[in-house]
């Protein structure tokens, strides 16, 4: 990997714009003297966890929504993934979901209810419905809003006060971030996926490496990826510290967006496509930092620690904190190893999960399920796997998978086939790890307790999770016959 820091203020930098510059400039409403800007927001996605206090705030201040149609709501974090006909058993979760329903009804916001086929994880349904489109500014009270940047949209997570601010003003106060470009060239090896690319990037730049930047992902490998794979990469930009990730619009983007329920229709379609085709960085645009990765060198990855930067290739061994010079980092590594119950020098292949979770806004789209099903087809769960579950990203992903027979492949392997939601990515519903349990998870965060108090998370791609489910340990999917 190589780093370049470029000097700004050259003539070309003034003329040429990055994609982020273009999206920013197109949405600039007002600039305050100190450089803080008022940025117009085209779309807000609303979910049950980070919105109730925002609606309450509006009510208390007697304020109205600025543009009702700019919002789309769904309940995803708290919903059960088991039989939906039974409703939500936990009264606290139930109240939060009911509150969302009431708030949306009184404000007139479109809501995909728990039993709507379109319900699912907010970052899966936005692109799926064509509600999030190229060139838009998109916010949501959820840090993984960076996902939508894959469409060439400026999308980032916000806190509840900002949710309220956007509801009331359709704008957000922000300072412009700096530009970072991560270029991935070369050829991906078999079994290496978008998840491995982003884990490799985070492993290199660290969880604060992107703080203060918007990351544009570029290069021949990114260009060759499907929209869904690009979403996986942009999704985890926040794990590198960057609020937003971006991929330039190309034919893959436009083909993906076409004919979605909320996409522009016949007469406006051509106008939209012409506009979207301008959504790429100019050739001479300068970035504050350039990072290059050689795809040939990227291996399948798994996380070994309690931060998404603590990753290792699947053929490697658990690192030794004694070899780390920085005392703060060394202490962090020691703490992580203790929490994860791992020893330096252990082979990744000797780590055995108890549970397998295939789901989350990172990896619960149809391609993820197809790839995982392909690995487990005709096999059985290994004896040490206590629970393996697939949680599709949306009702429509689930329906598609069932039409393709993927549900039967998973079920006959021994997986549970669940209803859509955030599920065990953060364990706000019943789907949680027990203390000490180890999980092969396709989600995005391996923080202490993230999937349940005392639970141990290893972040992996869907194919590595699938391989772990049928072999009982982490292993390169290429060696699973």
């Amino acid at each position: 990997m190589r780093y370049y820091f470029k000097s700004k203020f050259t003539n070309t930098a003034i003329m040429a714009k990055t994609l982020y510059d273009k999206l920013w400039d197109a949405h600039l409403v007002h600039e305050y003297d100190d450089g803080t800007s008022l940025l117009y927001i085209d779309r807000q996605l609303v979910h049950e966890v980070t919105s109730p206090q925002a609606f309450e705030g509006l009510k208390l201040a007697g304020r109205k929504l600025w543009r009702v149609n700019a919002n789309l709501a769904v309940a995803d974090h708290n919903v059960p993934t088991t039989d939906r006909r039974l409703g939500i058993a936990d009264p606290v979760s139930k109240l939060q979901v009911t509150t969302l329903t009431e708030n949306c009804e009184s404000a007139g916001i479109t809501l995909f209810g728990m039993n709507d086929i379109r319900q699912g994880i907010v970052h899966v349904i936005g692109p799926e419905q064509g509600s999030t489109l190229p060139g838009m500014t998109i916010v949501c009270g959820d840090s993984h809003t960076s996902t939508h940047g894959a469409l060439g949209a400026l999308a980032f997570g916000i806190g509840t006060s900002d949710v309220e601010h956007v509801l009331a003003t359709q704008c957000i106060l922000q300072k412009k971030a700096k530009n970072m470009r991560v270029t991935v060239n070369g050829q991906l090896q078999p079994g290496v996926t978008a998840k491995d690319i982003i884990l490799a990037i985070i492993g290199k730049i660290g969880t604060a490496g992107g703080t203060g930047y918007t990351i544009e992902y570029a290069g021949e490998v990114i260009e060759s990826l499907s929209m869904e794979a690009r979403m996986t990469i942009c999704n985890m930009s926040i794990e590198a510290g960057a609020r937003a990730g971006l991929v330039a619009v190309d034919q893959t983007t436009i083909d993906y967006v076409k004919d979605r329920p909320y996409s522009p229709n016949d007469e406006m379609w051509q106008q939209a496509v012409e506009y979207w085709q301008s959504l790429k960085s100019d050739d001479k645009a300068e970035f504050d930092i350039e990072i290059e990765l050689d795809a040939n060198q990227i291996k399948p990855y798994l996380s070994w620690g309690t931060s998404p930067e603590m990753v290792m290739p699947i053929d490697a061994t658990v690192p030794d904190p004694e070899l780390e010079n920085d005392p703060v980092k060394r202490e962090g590594m020691q703490r992580a190893l203790e929490y994860m119950d791992l020893k330096p020098g252990m082979r990744a292949e000797d780590i055995q999960p108890d549970k397998v979770f295939i789901g989350s806004c990172t990896n619960a789209r149809i391609e993820d399920l197809r790839a995982a099903a392909d690995v487990v087809k005709g096999k059985k769960l290994a004896a040490n796997i206590k629970l393996a579950m697939v949680v599709p990203g949306s009702g429509l992903v689930k329906q598609q998978a069932e039409q393709e027979g993927l549900d039967e492949i998973f079920k006959s392997t021994g997986f549970e086939w669940r209803e859509p939601g955030c599920s065990m990515c953060l364990g706000m519903n019943e789907d949680q790890l027990e203390p000490g349990e180890r999980c092969a998870s396709t989600s995005n965060r391996n923080f202490e307790g993230r999937q349940g108090r005392g639970g141990r998370t290893h972040l992996v791609s869907p194919v590595i999770a699938a391989a772990a489910a049928v072999t009982g340990h982490f292993v390169d999917v290429n060696s699973v016959g």
Binding site: A26, V29, H30, Y32, D34, L38, Y40, R43, V49, T50, P52, Q53, E56, A61, R63, W66, R67, N69, H77, D90, V92, S93, L95, T99, G141, D142, S143, T145, G157, I158, G159, T160, S161, D162, H165, A168, T169, Q170, L173, K175, T207, A208, T211, G241, R243, P264, A272, S307, V328, K329, G332, R335, L426, M428, R445, F447, E448, G449, R450, R453
Partner: protein, 212 residues
Amino acid sequence: MQKFTNVKGIVAALDQANIDTDQIIPKQYLKSIKRTGFGPNLFDDWRYLDKGEPGMDHSKRKLNPDFVLNHDRYQGAKILLTRENFGCGSSREHAPWALLDYGFSCIIAPSYADIFFNNCFKNGILPVTLDSHQVDELFDEVLNHEGCQFEVDLPAQTVTTDNGQIYSFQINPTQKNRLLEGLDDIGITLQQAEKIKTYESERAKITPWVFN
């Protein structure tokens, strides 16, 4: 929002980098539909020995004696001293709500995650950024002097320690002003309502599908 001008009080030293918002306030407490009451659950997984759930009487739960905030010397702390990339992870504003409800109105660290940093200013919390070596010095002072207090003065942009050391910090003037005045962002933004409307009508010509 409550104003922030200055704070003087005990400093709690939480010597760990990359503390994420899942630690600051675990997920089960995000089910609340209120902004208040999160203080007893700040750092819940580290602070208590048992697994906490909403609705419990947290005053009856067994505290983890090894966790620094449970140490006698840090009781009543108003300032949290910590390490790099504090508040990384999710966008949950419940994190600053929990810190404030517990009693922390000021945090001192070498760096913060973007969303968390931004969320602090919406809730009357001052996140002070100092150089790593300055933070090292502050840790030395706090760890070596029980009952150590700092005074953080926002108008003067200084942190003054018990032994008289003064550290200056930088802050965006707008964010400083909002903390000092306890200003409501929405009210300020709505002063630009005409500009927003003009923007929308111009923009609707270029990207009409956005406004459908």
